[in-house]
């Protein structure tokens, strides 16, 4: 069963416990100054943004069909069936295609390191694979960040909107965006206010490259035969011409 996080912005109080727990879990530095940074970075995997007393969390969406996973040439990024999208640094060659491909602009890079890693929230794989909840969900005092089965969380989110239609934008962000994500969002203000684009396609992005790549196995034998055929035809003409030329030459000799 695929796990997910449901973040309900209407319940959030901007206490930033999730940020602190995340830093602790991932052995990242955390202090008052870092708490003030309202963006994800190589040293901050989740950020709580605030705007006119409205809040919104940002973190890796741990997509159902992640673009980052599909593009990584060496499979350093991987989607687990439990939900987390994990990263194995020692496979990575640092091409940064994952960063270019992620529609949410999530993966960050250790630009100043000589042995740089890609950094992002990986949805606490150690905890989740052991059946526990993520650090951020565990430490959230209000239940604004909730961990659970993805399907159940979607149902719960629907119910929350139904019960309090005036409080919510009637959209659960992450159910369908780019094929669905393991982080689901509810908000009282338009998602765009916090940089979540709502114009994303509903189909998974990797489909677009896969549609082209999947043709390659058919293309190779076809290409060989076609090119080989053209070669045969163009050179056959030459061989025939040469043979005829020789005959004509011989015929000429005999005449003499």
């Amino acid at each position: 069963m695929s796990k997910a996080l449901l973040y309900d912005a209407t319940l959030c109080i901007d206490c930033k416990q999730c940020e602190a727990a995340c830093a602790d879990q991932n052995k990242l530095p955390y202090d008052d100054n870092i708490a003030k940074e309202e963006r994800q970075s190589e040293h901050k995997f989740t950020a709580v943004l605030s705007k006119n007393d409205k809040y919104m969390r940002r973190l890796c969406m741990n997509c159902q069909e992640p673009a980052c996973v599909s593009v990584c040439p060496v499979a350093a990024l991987r989607k687990t069936s439990e939900g987390p999208v994990i990263y194995e640094a020692n496979r990575c060659m640092g091409c940064r295609y994952c960063m270019a491909a992620c529609p949410f602009g999530v993966p960050k890079y250790e630009w100043s390191s000589l042995n740089p890693k890609v950094r992002k929230c990986t949805m606490c794989p150690d905890r989740v694979l052991a059946g526990r909840q993520t650090a951020c969900a565990e430490n959230c005092p209000t239940g604004a960040t909730k961990f659970g089965d993805r399907d159940e969380l979607i149902n719960e989110a629907r119910k929350r909107i139904q019960d309090n239609p005036a409080n919510y934008i009637h959209h659960i962000y992450g159910v369908e965006e780019v094929g669905g994500t393991s982080v689901l969002l509810l908000s009282g203000v338009p998602f765009e206010e916090f940089g979540y684009r709502t114009d994303f396609p509903r189909d998974p992005l990797p489909l677009r490259t896969y549609q082209v790549l999947s043709k390659i196995p058919d293309f190779i034998p076809l290409g060989f035969v076609t090119l080989g055929g053209i070669w045969w035809i163009t050179h056959r003409r030459e061989a025939v011409a040469a043979a005829e030329g020789r005959q004509a030459h011989q015929a000429g000799k005999e005449l003499k």
């Binding site: 970075s41 190589e42 673009a67 599909s70 593009v71 990584c72 040439p73 060496v74 499979a75 350093a76 496979r91 990575c92 060659m93 640092g94 091409c95 940064r96 295609y97 960063m99 270019a100 491909a101 529609p103 602009g105 993966p107 960050k108 890079y109 630009w111 100043s112 390191s113 000589l114 042995n115 740089p116 684009r197 114009d199 994303f200 396609p201 992005l205 990797p206 677009r208 490259t209 896969y210 082209v212 790549l213 390659i216 293309f219 190779i220 290409g223 060989f224 090119l227 080989g228 053209i230 070669w231 163009t234 050179h235 003409r237 030459e238």
Partner: protein
């Protein structure tokens, strides 16, 4: 003459010195210190120019071997060798550039044992690796001839046609795949350039640039190496170029039309300006020049058209990789001087290697009869009548 020689030598040394310092910064201070890349803009000119344009500019190799060996257009034979040399050098330099760009260059071999066949980059990596090997083999007869090694020469000659076929297929795959790389970014790439046809456009333009580069190089080398210009050959290439460009132009127009992008031309902005620059340089100007028979048949007209095509499609690659990504990234990327210095040094080294190879190897037909200390070997090589062509 002597002054000019020293002047260019000085320029060359200056560029290489700047590149060497840039290399030091890159490998001892990291990507952050040596580039203007950022989390919002992870790919700069090392990908957009060195890799995307580098591979495109080296496309003459597969275009010409296909024309000569598969389509059997024998008239083009005399220029196959310099083109293969350029292509081979091109791919080697692209690989070197990649070592600068990769965050962990020492892991560049990882795709050999860690596979993700769903990744376009993985496919490109394999194709480029294999194709560079193919080019090395296609190039090897020239070296083998030079040292008169008959046995290996025979072996290479025997497998030449399958090699050429393989080279054309690998090139088709990775030239188009460089466009496929961007198919996963519909939310980021500007609609001027994001289209499902990206792979087709990248492939067709690679052929066009391959032809244009061959015309350009032949003209240049006739000037600098004092050779006669093979005008009838270039005229033939010009005709093919006209056809390829026309096909590309029609497809590009229909694509823009069907995706309803033309109204975006009303929006002023640098995206539109660079899009127009690309279209004028890559299509409008060369198509006009080549459509007029008198210009198409003149050396100067062909040269101008070729240069315009090359510049136009360089603009295209930079538009796809940089211009088209800036709005989504919310910033303006300007490469740091180190990025430019390293790119410049790589190009300079490429030119130097080309000149070196031309001096010491039987690349141009005339050179095989050249007098000098190598004359006996060169003469022997000449007997071997184009073994590798």
């Amino acid at each position: 003459m002597k002054i000019k020689f020293t002047f260019w030598k000085a320029v060359f040394l200056l560029i290489v010195a700047a590149g060497a310092y840039g290399t030091f910064v890159r490998f001892f201070r990291g990507l952050g210190a040596s580039t203007n890349l950022s989390d919002q803009f992870p790919w700069g000119i090392w990908i957009g120019f060195d890799v995307l344009c580098g591979v495109m500019l080296a496309a003459g190799g597969f275009t010409l071997t296909a024309a000569v060996h598969i389509l059997n257009i024998q008239r083009l034979k005399p220029i196959v060798r310099p083109t293969i040399l350029t292509a081979f050098l091109g791919y080697v330099l692209v690989s070197v550039a990649l070592l600068f760009d990769l965050g962990r260059p020492y892991n560049i071999w990882h795709p050999l044992i860690m596979r993700n066949p769903h990744s376009v980059m993985f496919e490109v990596a394999y194709c480029v690796m294999l194709y560079t090997t193919v080019l090395a083999l296609e190039f090897s007869p020239i070296v083998l001839e030079r040292f008169n090694l008959q046995k290996p020469l025979k072996v290479v000659k025997a497998v030449l046609i399958p090699l050429v076929l393989l080279g054309v297929i690998l090139s088709t795959l990775h030239q188009s795949s460089l466009g496929t790389l961007y198919l996963i970014m519909p939310t980021k790439l500007h609609p001027f350039w994001y289209t499902p046809l990206l792979p087709v456009f990248f492939f067709l333009s690679a052929i066009a640039v391959g032809l244009a580069m061959t015309i350009f190089e032949s003209s240049m080398s006739s000037k600098h190496f004092g050779r006669e210009l093979e005008l009838p050959i270039l005229q033939e290439l010009g005709r093919v170029l006209l056809v390829v460009l026309t096909v590309y132009a029609i497809l590009r127009f229909e694509d823009l039309l069907h995706r309803g992008v033309f109204h975006q031309l009303l929006v002023a902005g640098y995206e539109r300006n660079l899009f127009l620059l690309e279209i004028v340089l890559a299509l409008v100007l060369p198509l006009t020049l080549l459509a007029i028979p008198k210009i198409r048949q003149s050396a100067g007209g062909l040269y101008l058209a070729a240069v315009s095509v090359v510049l136009g499609f360089i603009t295209n690659r930079l538009n796809v990789s940089i211009t088209g990504m800036e709005t989504a990234a919310g910033l303006h990327y300007v490469p740091k001087w180190t990025e430019i210095a390293i790119t410049g040094a790589i190009i300079a080294v490429g030119f130097a290697l080309f000149a070196l190879a031309v001096n010491y190897l039987p690349i141009f037909p005339e050179h095989r009869e050249a007098a000098g200390p190598e004359a006996p070997v060169a003469a022997k090589a000449a007997v071997l009548s184009h073994a590798g062509d």
